[in-house]
């Protein structure tokens, strides 16, 4: 066994120190260890922890700033979108009104054109019927003239042939034939 207390009594500096010794020397031996550890803690904080913390903080700040920017631009985009949608709606209603107006105008014009066309057709029809009536009158007049002529001829012939009964008879039949012919013409024209 190694009696360590002998060193403490006899020689100034011992070779070994006991594991646990509850005296002043033990607590004095702790001082360099404590100083060492405080030195390690302080130096390592400034060498290792602070720069890394700074980088992490900078990154966190940047991410936060970018998030803020993104939120801002999103808000602007949404506003723009709302404006655009409003505009689209307005354009839609405008288009609808324009179309309605155009349709109304077109239908008015259509009815107008139709009316005009109807009137024109009526005109044409009227003119045609007037022409027909006129022709009819003319033909009537012509037939009348022809009858007058024939009757005049007949009268002249009658006057000249009063002497002869046979001749008279003959003239009468001729006139009758002629009349028949004109009646046939007349009926023909009426049919037309």
């Amino acid at each position: 066994m190694n009696p360590q207390f002998l060193f403490v009594l006899n020689s100034a500096i011992p070779d070994t120190r006991p594991l646990i010794d509850m005296d002043l020397q033990m607590f004095l031996d702790m001082v360099p260890n404590l100083v060492n550890f405080i030195l390690i803690a302080v130096v390592m904080t400034y060498l290792l922890y602070k720069p890394v913390r700074k980088i992490l903080q900078a990154r966190a700040d940047r991410v936060e700033g970018e998030m803020k920017d993104a939120a801002l631009s999103k808000a602007t985009a949404e506003e723009l979108k709302a404006q655009y949608e409003q505009k689209v709606k307005e354009i839609e209603t405008e288009r609808a009104t324009i179309l309605d107006e155009a349709r109304k105008l077109a239908s008015e014009k259509r009815s107008q054109i139709l009316d005009e066309a109807k009137a024109e057709a009526q005109d044409v029809k009227d003119r045609a019927s007037r022409d027909v009536a006129f022709e009819l009158e003319q033909t009537k007049g012509a037939v009348h003239q022809a009858i007058i002529d024939i009757s005049t001829d007949m009268a002249a012939k009658l006057i000249s042939a009063t002497i002869d009964k046979d001749a008279h008879e003959k003239l009468f039949s001729e006139a009758l034939a002629e009349l028949e012919a004109t009646t046939a013409f007349k009926t023909e024209t009426v049919a037309v």
Binding site: A12, Q25, F37, M44, L47, L48, Y49, V52
Partner: protein, 230 residues
Amino acid sequence: MDFSIVVHHGIQITDGIMFLITETTVNTWIIMGLLFLFGIVVRVKSRKWDFTKKPTGLQNFIEMCVESWEKFFIANSSTRVLYLAPWFFVLFMFLLVSNMIGVTGLRPPTADWGMTFPLAFSTFCLIIFAGMRHRPKKYLKGIFLEPLFVFAPLNIIGELARPISLSFRLFGNILGGMILLSLLYGIAPIFVQFVLPAPLHMYFDLAAGALQAVIFVVLSLTFVGIASED
């Protein structure tokens, strides 16, 4: 077999009072060098890092660590004491490295009560600091007047037991692993010392070390969070 801590150098101050440079201190300096090297690499590389681009490699790893650490911190403590996150981050890193340094054959600094008690004591100071800063009246009332003023000594003893319990838990676990492995190396013949200790190292140094680091930090965070929150 002697598991006392080797003293490399010492200065006599007065009779029986010495300033000792122990194995623990030297191993802490080694770990400090490793951590500072890593920190300087990160610091130098971080000048070129652009936060607008996709992180790759080391940057990705470090950012993931810090980010998940803050989530862990908030889950176990409160958002009020988030300014203490770097301290506990470095504490966790230090505990992880120093518990695992046993695989290299060095003595872990945490296998010394002279190292674990200062760490637990700093947690104790932070508990008081958080309580006094964020809700001084309620904190003091919780210690001295809850549930009755008669129980004040019990509460004070409970508060004082926290750093001791924290430090002894870590110290005992790491020291137990270290002593078991040392006994194995001392007993076993030379040809057994090559492959057989590997799984034991894996358990006692890596798994138990990481677990104890997590437990130490989780308990510290919980205490600080409870002290700071209403």
